[in-house]
């Protein structure tokens, strides 16, 4: 352990240097900046008009070129150095732009071509579309000849935009994150701080070729506190990871979590939980839809009406005390002794701005909790035992689920629903892709692979150099040393596209072995050391440990609906809450408004027809039609570009956009 520590601190030292040179301020010392550049900058940008008018074309070009060069150099290095480090560079999260130093010292006149490896690197994980974007050499800024003043102004504007983008890019923090799969293997990804969990998931879908259903999630486990939570899709991944301590044994898991979007699939279980089980179970789809609409599509997000006696352990005390708690949009409250439940008497227990909600594990043993159904509220920064962590115990798992979901709705509001809709779209696309692939048409399966190949070298570049140092320390707590190292070059393993097709034909059975078998072949394509099949790691933390997210579309736990023969697959899957890869059909059609018209069948009034007009269009499709939503055929072709959208917002596409805009001029 000692030398690992040593290595680690060496690495950190190196990184400090690097980050300093990058201009990301590191902790105590304040890097001196060359004042001259600063002056240039501030002159250039103090006033809006001034900036546009005063900057000469060549100034801008130079600025761009410098930035690019600067980025090329440092990011390449950084990417190499940082690699394998789960732990964040200890830089303060300052928002400072890159050091002006670099600008003056790196006089590359090269075009603003977006070929900085750093960029490519981060893009490579995103989508095919972005990789197709990169080859297009954007026209050099100089080439455009300003004929008219307006055009000139526009050009300047574009350049400034580009420059700004570059500036932004330069400060972007990147982490290499190891993500544990269900089978105990892991994938290593580069995640930059702008990436959302959704984007990372999309990357993982590509790497693992799983079915991409909406339940796939990234989860964070806290080893020390025995907590876990699912990241929300809209969160940035890097930020919570930065809160981990250096020696942390926390992990990031890639799993299917049914509870993630359960509230949108069966809203009645959350919003009408007081009703009897049977009513809830028999809830009609249109009523479910109505509930979702009512609670998530109005001007205000409605939090489920939750109230109940829970056991509380707080302030570091050992005892658990019972209180009557109530969930409101503004926080959790409790009814003080001897008071009524009226709102004004409620005492605020906690508000959600600064805390996240986690599932607690093994609390009975650890804290003598009355039950094991515990959820925990704590500030994300807190990583160790502390009196500031609040533990709440419920009578049963279902109640716990209610509360956790309710808290998430209160905390994240509309984002949750947006996440769900995005996930659904994504799932539709990937399921379409799978159905498509499964058909023995060679074309469809072959299209993706070239693009991936094309990407591979870039990744190799970014990755290869110095893999060994970091990884053992973090991420996988249980078996640190060997596997991580072997995993370092994993990015390549994704070009697994060819294999799936055959395997699909044989359907679910082979699932088990495939995952471990599959990685190697693709590797060989990239002349990288093939990672030995990982020793199946025991993930004590994971409940469904033997489930593998293999290239063939991994599916939800219980249902294995392999895309190819949809009908058959679905037949075995009557489970209402586990939608097969094709997205749940209820949600596909734009939620048709609910048919609420009632017949006021008052005796005197001519009763309007009881069954209202609306539902005809949605008549819940019977089991069969449900399986074949109109989606697959539609999405087959768009998939690639659609995937590109998923990576959205990355620098390359922004750049392309800017460039295109300019050429349009």
């Amino acid at each position: 352990m000692d030398d690992i520590d040593a290595m680690f601190s060496d690495l950190l030292g190196e990184m400090d240097l690097l980050t300093q040179s990058l201009g990301q301020e590191t902790l105590p010392p304040e890097p001196l900046r060359s004042p001259k550049q600063e002056i240039d900058f501030s002159i250039g940008f103090t006033g809006l008009n001034a900036s546009v008018n005063e900057l000469e074309d060549n100034d801008l070009d130079a600025l761009m070129a410098d930035l690019v060069a600067d980025l090329n150099a440092t990011e390449e290095k950084l990417a190499a150095e940082i690699q394998g480090l789960d732990v964040p560079p200890p830089s303060s999260s300052s928002d400072l732009p890159p050091p002006p130093k670099g600008l003056s010292h790196q006089p590359t006149s090269s075009v603003t071509s977006p070929s900085s490896p750093g960029n490519n690197y981060s893009n490579s994980v995103t989508t095919p579309s972005s990789s197709t974007a990169s080859p297009l050499p954007p026209p050099p800024p100089q080439s455009a000849k300003p004929t008219m003043e307006e055009i000139e102004a526009q050009l300047k504007a574009d350049k400034i935009k580009l420059a700004l983008e570059k500036l932004k890019e330069a400060k972007v923090k990147k982490l290499v994150v190891k993500v544990l799969m269900n089978d105990g293997s892991s994938k290593t990804l580069m995640v930059d701080e702008r990436q959302t969990v959704r984007e990372v998931l999309d990357n993982l879908f590509e790497k693992t070729h799983c079915d991409g259903n909406v339940d796939w999630s990234l989860c964070e486990t806290n080893y020390e506190l025995q907590l876990e939570r699912t990241f929300e899709d809209h969160e940035n991944l890097v930020e919570p990871l930065l809160a981990w301590t250096r020696d942390s044994e926390n992990k990031v898991l890639f799993q299917e979590r049914k509870d993630k979007f359960e509230v949108f699939k069966n809203p009645q279980n959350f919003y009408l939980w007081k009703k009897d089980k049977k009513t809830l179970k028999d809830m009609k789809d249109k009523d479910k839809e109505l509930l979702v609409q009512e609670n998530f599509c109005g001007t205000s997000i409605i939090v489920p009406d939750l109230e109940g006696v829970l056991f509380l352990k707080e302030d570091g005390k050992k005892a658990w005390k019972q209180r009557l708690f109530q969930l409101r949009a503004s926080g959790i409250y409790y009814v003080p002794k001897g008071k009524t439940k009226s709102s004004r008497d409620l005492v605020c227990f906690i508000q959600f701005d600064n805390v996240n909600v986690y599932y607690g594990k093994d609390v009975k043993n650890r804290y003598k909790a009355p039950t094991d159904f515990c959820f925990v509220l704590k500030h994300p920064q807190i990583q160790k035992e502390s009196q500031y962590i609040k533990y709440l115990c419920c009578d049963d798992a279902w109640t716990m689920n209610l509360w956790v979901t309710g808290i998430r709705i209160a905390k994240y509001g509309a984002s949750l629903y947006e996440n769900y809709k995005t996930a659904e779209k994504k799932a539709a696309v990937s399921s379409a892709l799978w159905t498509n692939r499964s058909t023995p048409s060679s074309s469809s399966s072959s299209t993706p692979s070239p693009t991936i190949k094309a990407k591979a070298p870039a990744q190799a570049n970014g990755h290869a150099p110095k893999p060994q140092a970091g990884p053992p320390l973090q991420g996988i707590g249980n078996l640190p040393p060997p596997p991580p190292n072997d995993f370092l070059p994993p990015p390549p393993p994704d070009p697994v596209l060819p294999p799936p097709a055959p395997s699909l034909a044989s359907k679910p059975a082979p699932q088990r072995q495939q995952p471990s078998d599959l990685p190697p072949p693709p590797l060989s394509m990239d002349s990288l050391p093939p990672p030995p099949p990982p020793p199946p790691m025991e993930n004590s933390l994971e409940d469904p440990p033997d489930f593998l997210p293999p290239p063939p579309p991994p599916t939800s736990y219980s249902s294995l609906p392999p895309p190819p023969p949809p009908a058959a697959g679905f037949g075995r899957n009557p489970n209402q809450s586990l939608p097969p890869p094709p997205p749940e059909p209820e949600f596909l059609p734009p939620p048709p408004p609910d048919p609420v018209i009632l017949a006021p069948g008052a005796p005197p009034a001519p009763p309007p027809p009881p069954p209202p007009p609306a539902p005809v269009s949605i008549q819940r499709p019977a089991a069969q039609p449900r399986k074949m939503p109109p989606v697959p055929p539609k999405r087959t072709t768009p998939m690639l570009s659609g995937g590109g959208g998923g990576g959205g917002g990355d620098f390359m596409s922004e750049l392309m956009f800017a460039m295109k805009k300019r050429t349009d001029q």
Partner: protein, 638 residues
């Protein structure tokens, strides 16, 4: 056919004038009667708005083609010839009174449509009229004649198709007076004086809350028929809490008035909320007031900054941030006393503090501040709480700083107000991950200082009603319950605390946020009626919400049952025994008689909500009036 004399009172001749007698035959149609009448009066004017009202039958004779015989009118009929539009005093949600001409002859539903068209409020179906609660007027108050905004001069025809002029409907652009009216409608009112709030009627229980709902007018009958007289006072309120398609761009008046209604609902505890929520509402009111003073009427301006511009702006800010020497200078001048909580009981020690980006560092002395700090604390994600007493000159900042091991509690003691405001503002921003260079730093300082100022002025008595922005009495922002519980200066830090989360909102966003939080309250949107369920011997309360009915046991004060409209199969009203019967899916039948409100009102509420829920479907903006009446009218509508 034999001619007979029909005497008609012509209102325009004055109340003392004798009825005008004309000779008619039974087959003369109503239009003919009117022509004869007008000829007889020999007055030249526009009579087009006039119509005949049949006093005994309480009925308008609006079908001019119908004959007297068909209407069943004989010589003994007392008819009144009068305008269909008459002025009324309309109490608005913001508490102001407007005088305008409303239609007395059409169903109230249409009258409201007309009023809303004039006021430029979309979706009139959500509003209705009700009889006001009589105010206990003391002699003293009468001296202060209430300001009445007059809209009676607006020609009715000009309202029919409102076109915008200067961002407001054209009829408001005619004169300065009219513009003032529009301002009153579209700009939020300043916080009311605490005494005004205290004076208003506040429901103390659900039963109290139920009474107001007995006052709604019947939407399917006209004003005249409901006994409303010219110049009577009526309230215009949002009745159905289902606000469809709220768009700040088109809904300036609607949004403002809805906010006012919501604000009063909170202040008068019409809808319950917790203390924390009340503080947030208070903070939002404070902010809304402040912003509407500084940026009046930006509601209509397009916030569409060119994205390049905004990018440059943010760059500018970032650049400033880079030269953090500037921000450092502001704050490093401070000697701050520092106490890590549990370490010592001895109290505070002096250190030289530096504020940089989102971190504070401290040094033994200024001279050593070039070197390594004793400690550097990053404030990102920390909790910042004030502990201030202006009179005692206590300026403490309490910081709860998250760390892997838990939260570290740290106190900073500032020397004076000035220093406190700066450091507090810095800490607030840093906790949100913003540096001192952020553009909001100065405004943050400002707001902290104005809250401090509030503490000062309030420490005396609260009678300086000079409602300048700086000296709002915090009691104006919360319900009277908290007037008793807290002194204004105790309230100030709590509201300030909540204010931090909303201080950056634009006016529109702040209004929307207020409405959102209001709508997220568990009791939001419930209209109560006291009912007696069939087979039950005690009164219970029926709560009518946009999507469901709830049954509240008065003894327990708790919801005992919920029925959702979408499970409803049909409902009936037995007008004779005034009982409503509703059938839900799964053979659930309920029946109840209404105690505090007419059956029709309850019927209309339920039908109205069902109507509201049908709106989302039709993309067209035309209001399906027929459907509304079908759903709410009962037998009388047809």
């Amino acid at each position: 056919m034999a001619a007979w004399d029909l005497s008609v009172t012509v209102e325009d001749l004055g109340s003392d004038a004798p009825p005008v007698t004309i000779s008619v035959a039974s087959d003369l149609h109503v239009g003919g009667v009117i022509v004869k009448l007008v000829e007889k009066t020999q007055i030249k004017r526009d009579w087009s708005d006039h119509a005949l009202w049949w006093e005994q039958k309480q009925q308008w004779l609006l079908r001019t083609a119908w004959t007297l015989e068909k209407y069943g009118i004989h010589a003994d009929a007392r008819l009144v010839f009068m305008p269909q539009h008459k002025p009324i005093k309309l109490g608005l949600p913001n508490g102001k009174t407007l005088q305008l001409k409303a239609c007395f002859s059409n169903p109230v539903f249409q009258t409201v449509m007309g009023i809303c068209r004039m006021l430029n409020i979309r979706h009139p179906e959500e509003l209705s009229l009700l009889r006001p609660v009589e105010e206990k007027k003391k002699k003293k108050d009468k001296d202060l004649a209430e300001e009445i905004y007059d809209l009676t001069e607006v020609p009715l025809s000009s309202v029919s198709r409102p076109c915008l002029y200067n961002g407001m409907p054209a009829h408001f652009a005619d004169s300065e007076q009219m513009e003032d009216v529009y301002k009153m409608l579209s700009i939020t009112q300043p916080p009311p004086a605490p005494e005004v709030i205290a004076k208003q009627y506040r429901p103390a229980s659900v039963v109290d809350k139920a009474h107001i709902n007995g006052r709604w007018l019947d939407s399917s009958r006209c004003l005249k028929k409901q006994g409303i007289q010219e110049n009577d006072r009526l309230w215009l309120r949002f009745k159905y809490y289902a606000f469809y398609d709220m768009d700040p761009k088109y809904d300036v008046v609607r949004l403002t008035q809805l906010y006012e209604q919501a604000r009063w609902a909170i202040l008068l505890e019409d809808v319950d909320c917790t203390e924390e929520e009340m503080m947030l509402f208070g903070a939002l009111q404070y902010h809304i007031n402040k912003v509407s003073l500084t940026e009046p009427q930006t509601l209509s301006s397009s916030a569409a900054l060119d994205d390049l511009e905004s990018a440059l702006m943010s760059l500018e800010v970032k650049m400033e941030g880079e030269s953090s020497s500037a921000s450092e200078m502001i704050l490093s001048s401070g000697i701050v006393h520092f106490r890590p909580k549990r370490l010592t009981l001895k109290g505070y020690k002096q250190y030289w503090f530096k504020f940089q980006d989102t971190s504070i560092s401290y040094f033994k002395s200024k001279e050593e501040s070039i070197g390594e700090p004793i400690q550097q604390i990053n404030l990102k994600g920390c909790e910042v709480a004030p502990d201030v007493n202006v009179t005692a000159q206590k300026f403490l900042i309490r910081l709860l700083i998250p760390a892997p091991e838990g939260m570290n509690e740290v106190y900073l003691r500032c020397e004076n107000e000035q220093q406190y405001a700066q450091w507090m503002a810095g800490c607030r921003l840093a906790s949100k991950g913003k540096s001192l260079a952020d553009s909001s730093f100065q405004s943050e300082i400002q707001s902290i200082r104005s809250f401090l100022a509030m503490q000062k002025t309030n420490s005396g008595s609260s009678n300086n009603a000079a409602a300048s922005d700086e000296s709002i009495n915090t009691h104006s922002l919360v319900s009277p319950r908290y007037h008793k519980k807290y002194k204004p200066k105790q309230l100030t830090p709590r509201i300030l605390d909540a204010y931090q989360n909303v201080a950056q909102l634009s006016l529109t966003d702040a209004l929307m946020r207020f409405l959102q939080i209001w709508q997220a309250l568990p009791d939001f949107g419930l209209s109560y009626v006291v009912v007696r369920f069939k087979g039950s011997r005690k009164d219970e309360v029926l709560g009518i919400a946009p999507n469901r009915l709830i049954r509240i046991d008065l003894g327990v004060g708790d919801v005992v049952k919920t029925w959702r409209y979408n499970n409803m199969k049909q409902w009936n009203v037995n007008w004779d025994i005034k009982q409503m019967a509703i059938e839900f899916e799964g053979n659930v039948n309920i029946a109840f008689g209404c105690v505090t409100a007419d059956c029709k009102i309850v019927h209309e509420f339920i039908g109205g909500y069902i109507f509201m829920s049908t709106r989302s479907r039709e993309k067209s903006d035309t209001l399906n009036e027929e459907l509304f009446h079908k759903l709410t009218g009962g037998h009388e509508a047809l």
